[in-house]
């Protein structure tokens, strides 16, 4: 009795999230090989999509700069590992990468939001940010390796002086990324359900009214942009060590655009939809790229247009409607 009540209280979206995470958690029992190697990468892309979702879906801010934060994270990881250090470079890399992205986002966000720059201008500024990061990655050869990029070793996690946990093999890596994704998702979910998240939704719906209620809207927008940058940077650091290689194309505008496409298709108003969008659309891109290298981007582009025009809720909206139609 009590049990069924708990299940009833779980919303549709949380049910979907539960199912997706259980599936991903159990997957390595059933399959192995390439899928287990590549899926963590898509989970990180999923996190990157979530970092845009909290901006676009929740706060009404579009960013063309998510790839820049992702790249800052990945490059920081690579550089930290290359330079080495007294303490475990894995943790330093992850923390520094995420923090650096977060700080860059905080500065850019504060710089623009504090004077209430038009939201369309903000989009262009993030677009420029992407290009700046890409150009710097290309030109600062001594630090970033320039066009050739940077090789990044797989990290080893240590707990205390004796316990070591290498992520060199695919299965440990898979579960490491899985838990990072799960943890980040839960934290973001909690944050968005809190008062902070509600104020952001209020800003999206009617910024003037929220402002009239006495909230400093530019503070909230700056904070969510910083958190978004932090999350994208975090995903980037782990991407760096997972892929083993970082190059300037990570920061290119086209990659930022792909993130927008994932979120639009997954469902911009739904965290789990965005996560799933990142994972599914990136896998689909990869698959289509091997089947029809010439046409896949075209296909993705057309799907993008159709979603914006006809299915504003994306995949998540579609699932919700179908669910309500047949199970209510």
């Amino acid at each position: 009795m009590a049990n069924s009540k708990i299940i009833k209280n779980i919303t549709g979206e949380n049910k979907a999230a539960l199912i997706i995470f259980i599936l991903m958690g159990l997957l390595p029992i059933f399959v192995s090989g390439y899928i287990i190697f590549i899926l963590p990468q898509y989970m990180l892309f999923g996190l990157l999509a979530v970092s845009l979702c909290i901006l676009w879906g929740y706060s009404g801010i579009i960013s063309f700069g998510q790839a820049a934060f992702f790249a800052i994270g990945a490059y920081t990881m690579g550089i930290v590992i290359r330079e080495g250090g007294a303490i475990n470079t894995a943790y330093i890399g992850i923390v520094c990468g995420a923090l650096l992205s977060g700080i860059v986002a905080l500065i850019v966000g504060y710089f623009l939001f504090s004077v209430k720059v038009r939201s369309t201008y903000f989009v262009l500024a993030t677009l420029a940010l992407s290009i700046i990061v890409e150009q710097l990655a290309k030109s600062q050869k001594d630090i970033t390796g320039g066009w050739n990029g940077l090789f990044v070793d797989r990290i080893t996690l240590t707990v205390g002086p004796f316990i070591e946990f290498s992520l060199f093999n695919d299965i440990p890596m898979y579960y490491f990324v899985f838990f990072i994704t799960l943890l980040s998702f839960i934290l973001i979910k909690w944050l968005m359900a809190s008062k902070f998240g509600k104020i952001l939704i209020g800003i999206r719906e009617n910024e003037d009214r929220i402002s009239a209620l006495g909230y400093d809207t530019s503070f909230y927008k700056t904070m969510i942009f910083a958190i978004s940058g932090l999350l994208a940077g975090l995903a980037g650091t782990i991407y760096g060590t997972h892929a083993g290689f970082v190059d300037p194309s990570l920061a290119r505008v086209l990659f930022s655009t792909e993130v927008i496409v994932w979120v639009a298709i997954g469902g911009r108003n739904s965290l789990i939809g965005s996560l799933a969008g990142g994972i599914l659309v990136a896998s689909l891109s990869n698959y289509l790229n091997s089947v029809t290298p010439e046409y896949w981007q075209l296909i993705i582009g057309v799907i993008f247009i159709v979603v914006i025009i006809l299915f504003r809720g994306g995949l998540a909206g579609g699932v919700e409607k179908t669910y309500e139609k047949f199970f209510r």
Binding site: I62, L124, S139, T257, I308
Partner: protein, 284 residues
């Protein structure tokens, strides 16, 4: 003195070339408020049509005009099918024109291939003024740009069409009450902006390598030209914005390299965007 003159000439040429590339965007953004993220793709299309036209033996000037017209027509179709339903929502038009960019870039790759193409320079050579050699072709398109902008200014301020368009910007409702066909005017303005983008693409084609991504470079720069110059200040703003963006890039590149120059320009543009969001030269 001689160095000063050559720097002035160089800056003038860069300013006008950039103004040419940004003009179509300034028209669409300034007059009907649509952020046309497809602007870069339209430039690229114009360049490819010019290349294709010359490939089948059409003279350069005619190829450029034809290319511009085709791009303008594509813009009109785009406006009619999609954009006109989303005028109230700037974010949607932004995303949809961006989607147009994605799809167009892919179609260009499929039809024309990803290799670099070259369009033969119709006026090679230099104008020799003794101490400095000015490239003939760049001079020609700079003069042409000045003519385009003056002509648009003439239409805008001295003709009935211009008055109608200005009335529409000032007050849509009253303009439509007075019998002005708003949706047709929007369509014409959008198409004209696209036509100018295509024309610009064809005209810059001999100076650059034509590739599917050539428009990207111009897209962000054009936006900054428009923002720095001030939205709605289509004529003076475009020139002023181009002068700041292009001039700055030239000067910084003198002291460091091209990449740093571009980064510096974007940073300065972001700062201007914050400090004077109405544009540097507009009064209020």
């Amino acid at each position: 003195m001689e160095i000063a003159v050559s720097v002035i000439i160089d800056t003038a040429l860069i300013t006008l070339t950039l103004a040419l590339a940004a003009f179509g965007l300034a028209i669409i953004y300034g007059l009907i408020g649509v952020i046309n993220m497809g602007h870069g793709a339209m430039l690229t299309l114009g360049a490819y049509f010019t290349w294709a036209g010359m490939g089948i033996g059409i003279p350069f000037v005619l190829s450029v005009i034809l290319g511009g017209l085709i791009v303008g027509f594509i813009g009109m179709i785009l406006e009619h099918l999609i954009i006109r339903h989303y005028y109230d929502n700037p974010f949607d038009t932004l995303l949809l024109t961006w989607a147009f960019f994605l799809v167009t870039t892919e179609l260009i790759k499929i039809f024309f291939g990803s290799d670099f193409r070259t369009v033969t320079n119709p006026f090679p050579g230099f104008i020799d003024i003794g101490f400095y050699k000015i490239p003939t072709y760049r001079t020609a398109i700079s003069i042409l740009t000045a003519i385009f902008i003056s002509f648009t200014g003439f239409v805008f301020f001295k003709t009935t069409t211009g008055i109608k368009i200005r009335a529409m910007i000032q007050n849509q409702e009253v303009a439509s009450l007075l019998g002005l066909n708003i949706s047709l005017t929007y369509k014409l303005v959008f198409s004209f902006g696209c036509f100018m983008a295509g024309l610009a693409g064809g005209l810059v084609a001999p100076m650059v390598s034509v590739s599917p991504y050539m428009g990207d470079m111009y897209l962000v720069r054009s936006f900054f030209v428009v923002i720095v110059g001030g939205i709605g200040q289509i004529l003076s703003g475009t020139i002023a914005g181009s002068f700041v963006i292009g001039g700055l890039e030239t000067i910084v590149a003198l002291f460091s390299d091209q990449v740093i120059a571009q980064v510096a320009v974007f940073l300065v543009a972001i700062i201007i965007l914050r400090v004077r969001p109405q544009g540097i030269f507009s009064g209020k």
